[in-house]
């Protein structure tokens, strides 16, 4: 696109003096002009384009003429209601300022040149041009995903040992102590052996009941554990019942008591693998 535009009939250059009576840019149809503007990365880019087009063999930058062209563009964009980034207008103002200063009589002062507003602008244009070229070259460099392809060698079949963090029992207890402290349950400052046995027995009984329709009450006791064991199991059953985790059923008077997981019909068995 840009190329096509650059190849547009150039101005005649006579002894370095550009012949710019006919800004043929204005013959570009409006649609094309809009696309054309999108090609520019900003006012410096547009200015560079104008300069390069006009000065095929530059020895000189005719600020006045460039300014005129630039402002023509901007105005034309305005006529077409093309929304312009503010930077374009700032540049137009800067160019206008430079142009007006150029109209003032020059003093043959050596210092004058450093103050020449054109010099600053030209330096900026140079720097920008330089970066613009660099960006093009960067784009040409061979790069990953386009010209450079790294090898993919599979290693998923390798057995990779998974490492888990270590944990000490003491840490677990300390964590539990913290929890208890937080809930401020002073009455729980000690976990008695008994209470824990009951909790464990509750878990054991639940596990036993899982997958079973129901078990005989007596099946939940282990004779060889003796009196202590029976008490623990009994407390566990009562606790489970209280927490409505099990149902205790006696189908008729004096019949054997049966125990089942609460609404065992619905209990899923998916979880039990031990």
């Amino acid at each position: 696109m840009e190329n096509a535009l650059e190849q547009a009939p150039a101005f005649a250059i006579v002894n370095g003096a550009p012949f710019n009576q006919l800004p043929e840019d204005l013959y570009i149809p409006p649609d094309a002009l809009e696309v054309f503007l999108e090609l520019f990365e900003g006012p410096l880019d547009l200015l560079l384009y104008l300069i390069k087009r006009q000065n095929l063999d530059i020895v000189n930058i005719p600020v006045a003429e460039i300014t005129q062209q630039y402002i023509d563009y901007i105005q034309f964009m305005g006529l077409l209601n093309i929304e312009l980034a503010a930077e374009y207008l700032v540049m137009a103002a800067l160019l206008a300022e430079i142009k007006s200063r150029m109209l003032l009589p020059r003093r043959p002062d050596a210092e004058e040149e450093e103050d020449d507003p054109r010099a600053t602008l030209i330096r900026r244009l140079q720097e920008y041009e330089c970066i613009r070229n660099a960006a093009d070259e960067l784009d040409q460099l061979p790069r990953l995903e386009r010209e450079v392809f790294v090898t993919e060698v599979d290693s998923s079949a390798l057995a990779i040992e998974q490492h888990f963090p270590d944990l000490e029992l003491k840490e677990l207890l300390l964590a539990f102590q913290d929890v208890l402290k937080r809930v401020d349950q002073l009455s729980h400052h000690q976990i008695t052996k008994e209470a824990l046995s009951v909790r464990e027995r509750m878990a054991t009984i639940l596990a036993k009941l899982e997958g079973e329709n129901s078990l005989l009450f007596s099946q939940l006791f282990i004779r060889k554990e003796g009196r202590h064991g029976v008490v623990v199991s009994f407390l566990a059953i009562l606790e489970l019942s209280k927490e409505r985790l099990i149902d205790i059923i006696q189908p008729e008077p004096f019949a054997q008591i049966r125990v089942s997981a609460a609404s065992s019909a619905q209990v899923e068995t998916e979880t039990e693998h031990d």
Partner: protein, 200 residues
């Protein structure tokens, strides 16, 4: 160490087109998925496509070339791919190992509650800790096989009841939950006596 030529692929027997073989090898190395010979053939532009048989010959020759190198061209279900030889697994796997992070406070507390208060639902744990329990903590504990679902509570939503596993007991080298330290024993240990139940 003696110099050996064992690692140098010898391709004396390859009769096919060398250039095709080079391209096939490059394709196999760059592909992110295993490739069948047919797929390799189709990577070539239409007018330059080798015969399927040529691709097969190339694949066979490449397999041969890498016979004594630390990687091999291996045929798996969906095609051929280069992979690291399994005997080097012990070395290479270290590339991918990560140092295990330490368990978070939240995870430790959750595990402690499950251990000491089982069976408990997630809601119970949240009640006791006063904050929500993230799914990832429960998942981590389940993946580690320290906890499992031992039933469901018959309340709306039928929440899972969590308990510890045999693996949990094994890890801490105890046989029953009764051997979990009590807070009383912790007090003792804080007075200078170490906890005997600690793992080691």
């Amino acid at each position: 160490m003696t110099v050996t030529t064992a690692a140098a692929p010898v391709i004396a027997s390859f009769e096919g087109n060398m250039e095709i073989k080079r391209i096939v090898e490059a394709i196999l190395f760059a592909a992110k998925q295993p490739m069948t010979c047919k797929q390799i053939q189709q990577v070539f532009p239409e007018l330059e496509q080798p015969e399927l048989q040529e691709v097969q010959q190339a694949v066979a020759a490449i397999t041969e070339d890498y016979q004594s190198r630390p990687i091999e061209l291996k045929q798996v279900a969906s095609g051929y791919r280069f992979q690291v030889r399994s005997e080097l697994s012990r070395w290479v796997s270290r590339l991918f190992e990560e140092k295990p992070p330490k368990y978070s406070r939240a995870l430790l507390e959750t595990l402690a509650i499950i251990a000491y208060r089982q069976p408990v639902t997630r809601g119970d744990i949240e009640d006791i800790r006063g904050v929500g329990v993230s799914s990832s903590i429960i998942q981590t504990l389940q993946e580690r096989e320290w906890i499992r679902v031992i039933g469901h509570k018959e309340v709306p939503g039928r929440p899972a009841l969590l308990g510890t596993t045999k693996q949990f007991l094994d890890y801490f080298n105890i046989t029953t939950l009764n051997e979990l330290p009590t807070l009383q024993r912790l007090d003792l240990s804080l007075d200078g006596k170490p906890l005997s139940a600690g793992k080691e």
